[in-house]
Structure formats: C-alpha cells, structure tokens
C-alpha cells in the first residue's frame, strides 16, 4: 500500500480549485435566467372553476408591475430561483386585496407558467406553477449566414 502524500502546497491548490468549482455552481444557480409566464385565465381544478380577473396587477420582486386583463398572458424574466410575487386585485365589493407568495423555480425549468386565479385561490404551488415548454413552431428556412471577415478592423467603431 502506497500512501498518497499530500503536500501543503497541493492541499491548498486542491482547496482553491474546489472553492472555484463551488463558486461556479453557485453562480450557475443564482444567475440562471427563468422566464415566468403570467396567465390570467379561467382555470378548472377538481371540478371547480376559478374565473379570470377582469383586471389584475402582478408584480414580481421589485420589478414594475404588470397589468393583465382577462385571458391575458405576459412574461417576466427573472434571475435565480427564489422569487416573490405580489398580486393586487379588486373584488366585486370594490375592495382591494393583495396576495403575496414566495415561490421557487426548479433549476432545470427554462419557463414556468403561473396561473393567477389559482394562485389567488391558494390551490398550492404544484397547481398554480407549472413547467412550460414552448411549442416548436415550424420555422421558415433561414438563409445560411457565414462568418464575415473584417480584416482591417473597420467595423471596430465600437472599440
């Protein structure tokens, strides 16, 4: 049995490499961009119907709030996993309500869909937040673009 001798120097190098890798993973997690789709549509769940709001104001984190009419859908780009959503709506007695929810976007999801009526009805996150995979539409063939050379750096006006 040969013992692996770890010199002090190598030990620190190893620690440094591990730290950098950890940092990379952390950056990957907190820097991941997710697209949140906000959906104000009537939703059916367990035989019950949750109607869309005629008008609702949605705010994600500290971004500008978005106004959604019935059957509207809008999107917001967010960075990282944990976010706060604030929904402001007026009920039939003209009273203003504010619902604040925290949610976490799973790391693998590029896009999630949030149903506002389900959220306000407090149906549980697994129902009002779902992964959304955009349908791949048939795209018209694009003209092949090939690298252009700018030998003299004429286009470096932005240097």
């Amino acid at each position: 049995m040969t013992r692996i001798v770890l010199s002090r120097r190598h030990f620190f190098q190893l620690v440094a490499v591990i730290l950098i890798l950890v940092l990379a993973v952390v950056m990957f997690v907190i820097g991941r961009q997710h697209t949140v789709l906000l959906d104000n549509k009537t939703i059916e769940h367990d035989g019950k119907s949750y109607p869309a709001f005629s008008i609702v104001e949605v705010k994600i984190n500290k971004e500008d709030s978005i106004e959604l009419a019935a059957r509207d859908r809008d999107k917001a780009d967010v960075m990282g996993q944990r976010h706060k959503i604030t929904v402001t709506y007026t009920d039939k007695f003209f009273e203003e309500h504010e619902v604040v929810k925290n949610f976490k976007v799973p790391i693998g999801y590029d896009m999630v869909l949030i149903s506002i009526p389900a959220l306000v009805a407090d149906l549980g996150q697994s129902i009002w937040l779902q992964q959304f995979i955009p349908p791949t539409a048939a795209v018209a063939p694009v003209v092949e673009e090939l690298p252009v050379e700018d030998d003299l750096g004429i286009d470096m006006g932005e240097f």
Binding site: M27, G31, Q33, G80, P147, G153, I154, G157, F159
Partner: protein, 376 residues
C-alpha cells in the same frame, strides 16, 4: 571636451524623443477635436465609457512587458477563451453579474492552457517573441474557428437555437449578450457634471491596478523583472527563466480573457469571428500611444493611452467628414493611425536601443576624460 558633454538642448531633445508618440498624438487630437465639432461633455462621457471598457484588456499587456517578452500579441488567445466562456454562459441562460463571473471561471482554464502553450512556444523563439506571438494568435484563431464554427452544436452540445447557425451546428456571427449588457457598468453608477461614471467597473480596474503594483514587488514579480533585464544574469542568479516567462504569459492571457468579458459586457454583442482578432492590435496601439515602449510600460501609460487613442477614434470619422466630406476616409485614417503608431513605436524602440548603447559609451568616455583631468 565640449563635444562629449551632454548639453541642456540634447537633454530636452531626449525628452521629446522619448515621448514622441504621445506628443504626436496629442497634436493630432488637438487638431481633430475642433474639426469634429463635438462638445466637451460628449467627449468626456465617451472617454469615461472607453476607459471603463478597455483598460482591463490593456493592463493585461503589462506583465509580459515586465518579463522582457515585448508586446503580447498573443492576448487574442485570452480574448478567445473569454468569448468561449460567454458563449457557454449565453447557452446555459446564466445572466447578470453571476453570468459574468461564471464566464470568467469557464475562461480561466482555457486561458491558462493556451497561455501555457503560448509561453512554451515563445521560449523556443527567444528574441522574436512578438512576431511569434502574433502568428500564434492567427494559428489559434484557426483552432477557435474549428471549434466554434464546426464543433459547437455538433460535438459540444449547445441547446439554445438562438446561438446556433440554421444549418444545425456552429455559432452564429453575432451572439446577443443583452442579458449581461452593462450589468457591471450599471451596478453602481453615479453622475458627476452630467457624466455618468460606472463606479463598479472602475473599482474592478482599480483592484487590478493594485494587483499589478503589488505583483511587481512579489518574489515572482522581481524574478520577472530580472529575466526582463538580462536572461543570462537571471539564470546565473538561480531564477528559473523559462518557467518565469511562461507564468508571465499565462497571467497575461487569463487577464486578457477577463478583460474581454468586461469589454463585451459593455458592448452587449459578441461578433463571434471578429471581436477577438482586432482587440490585440487596438489594445497594443492604445498602450503605445500612452508612451509605453516594448520594454517599459506603466499603469499611467494605460490610462493616458486609452484617453488619447480613443479621442482620436471618436473624432476622426467626423473630422474626416467635415474636412473632406467623406466619413469613410476618417475611418481608414484611424485604422492607418493605429497601425502606423505601432510601426513607429517599434521602430523608435529599436533605434533608441541602439542610441542608448551609443550614449552609454559616450557618457563613459566623458567620465574617463574627467577622471584623467583630475589626475593630471
């Protein structure tokens, strides 16, 4: 006797000659500014933006100069590594400051490897490091194209269709970096006299400057200077010359990679096949305009150089248009000046090196003559 003595006039001439490039450039800029008709405020804002954008890249050139390896045309290698980091970052959808940091982390091992290779090759070509590093830039550009234009999307998985050419593999001509655009610059910006100053970027550059100053004083930095002075003497003193030279290039390449990321976060789009090629040339030109030479460069040269060079860059198309009615002319002019400045600086350096030798001889003769007089 009188022929041997160095007169005041000669000294003055020496100062002028030693700073010929910045003086010449100052004159060009002074003529150009009124011709272009830009306001001082506009020019000031542009200068601030460009100092923040380019200084990092240019500072990356300082360390090989210290080690006597001349202007590191191989900094394009680092730029390519930085761009590869950005491509992955864009593909994985990492945004903002974390995206930039991740791109830097990805670029580091690539830069380090390329820098190590470059250093190895330069050790085989002592005495013509500059032309060799220049050709290495071209050579690795071929490898870069092979990987990015043919490998990515085919061998290396790229899932974001916005990045890939319509044929299914290879990265597009331009990669949109809107997700990190100006994130560092706007992280903390303040306005002074109507000029917005990106404090965060400036802070990063300051830290780098402090690093370089500190580095000069470390054992490794001292070794590098010794190697730069005289390789054989350094070897006799027990310094590992080859190793030291490689390390200097590796550091420079890694910094160039980071510099490229800082530069592109300001620009906001990556020209996949062009951005890196000219960056070396323009950075070197800017450093030389600041009064640096092939064997001597300071942080002061960097900032003076960026300011003067970019004033010329901003002013010349408009000045050309107003003067002759052709903007194209001004654009050709600034390219000509960039190349011309490098040519003149290289020639002046060689000529000065010879004159320094002659001057040293003359001073020695003068000293000896004085000694003789004292003795009699």
């Amino acid at each position: 006797m009188s022929i041997l003595k160095e007169t005041g006039g000669q000294k003055f001439l020496g100062i002028i000659q030693n700073n010929a490039v910045p003086i010449l450039f100052g004159i060009i800029v002074l003529i150009g500014i009124p011709l272009s008709g830009y306001s001082v405020g506009y020019l000031g804002q542009e200068i601030v933006v460009r100092i923040a954008r380019n200084s990092f890249l240019i500072i990356a050139l300082l360390i090989p100069i210290m080690a006597g390896m001349g202007l590191n045309f191989g900094m394009t290698l680092g730029a390519m590594a930085g761009q590869i980091g950005l491509i992955f970052m864009a593909d994985w959808g990492i945004v903002g400051i974390p995206g930039m940091i991740l791109a830097m982390i990805i670029s580091t091992p690539i830069s380090a490897f390329l820098g190590w290779m470059c250093g190895k090759i330069l050790n085989m070509a002592k005495g013509r490091e500059m032309v060799t590093s220049y050709i290495i830039g071209f050579f690795i550009n071929g490898v870069y194209q092979l990987i990015v234009l043919y490998g990515m999307g085919a061998v290396i998985p790229i899932k974001n269709p916005a990045l890939v050419l319509p044929r299914g593999y290879g990265i597009r001509n331009t990669v949109n970096l809107i997700t990190i655009r100006k994130t560092l610059d706007n992280l903390f910006a303040i306005k002074i006299f109507g000029i917005s100053i990106p404090i965060a970027t400036m802070l990063v550059i300051t830290i780098l400057c402090i690093f370089v100053i500190w580095f000069r004083k470390t054992k490794l930095g001292q070794d590098m200077r010794a190697v730069g002075q005289d390789m054989e003497v350094a070897r006799a003193a027990g310094i590992k010359v080859e190793h030291t030279r490689i390390v200097s290039i590796v550091i420079s390449t890694i910094l160039a990679g980071y510099g490229m990321i800082v530069y592109l976060q300001n620009i906001g789009t990556l020209n996949t096949y062009n951005s890196h090629m000219q960056i070396g040339m323009f950075s070197i030109a800017a450093l030389l305009v600041g009064g640096a030479t092939v064997n001597k460069a300071s942080i002061g040269n960097v900032f003076l150089g960026v300011s003067l060079f970019h004033l010329m860059f901003i002013v010349s198309p408009t000045a050309g248009k107003n003067l002759i009615g052709e903007a194209q002319l001004g654009e050709y002019f600034r390219v000509f000046v960039s190349y011309g400045v490098i040519t003149i600086a290289l020639v002046l350096y060689e000529v000065r090196r010879r004159r320094e030798k002659a001057r040293g001889g003359r001073l020695l003769a003068q000293e000896q003559a004085e000694n003789m007089e004292e003795n009699t």
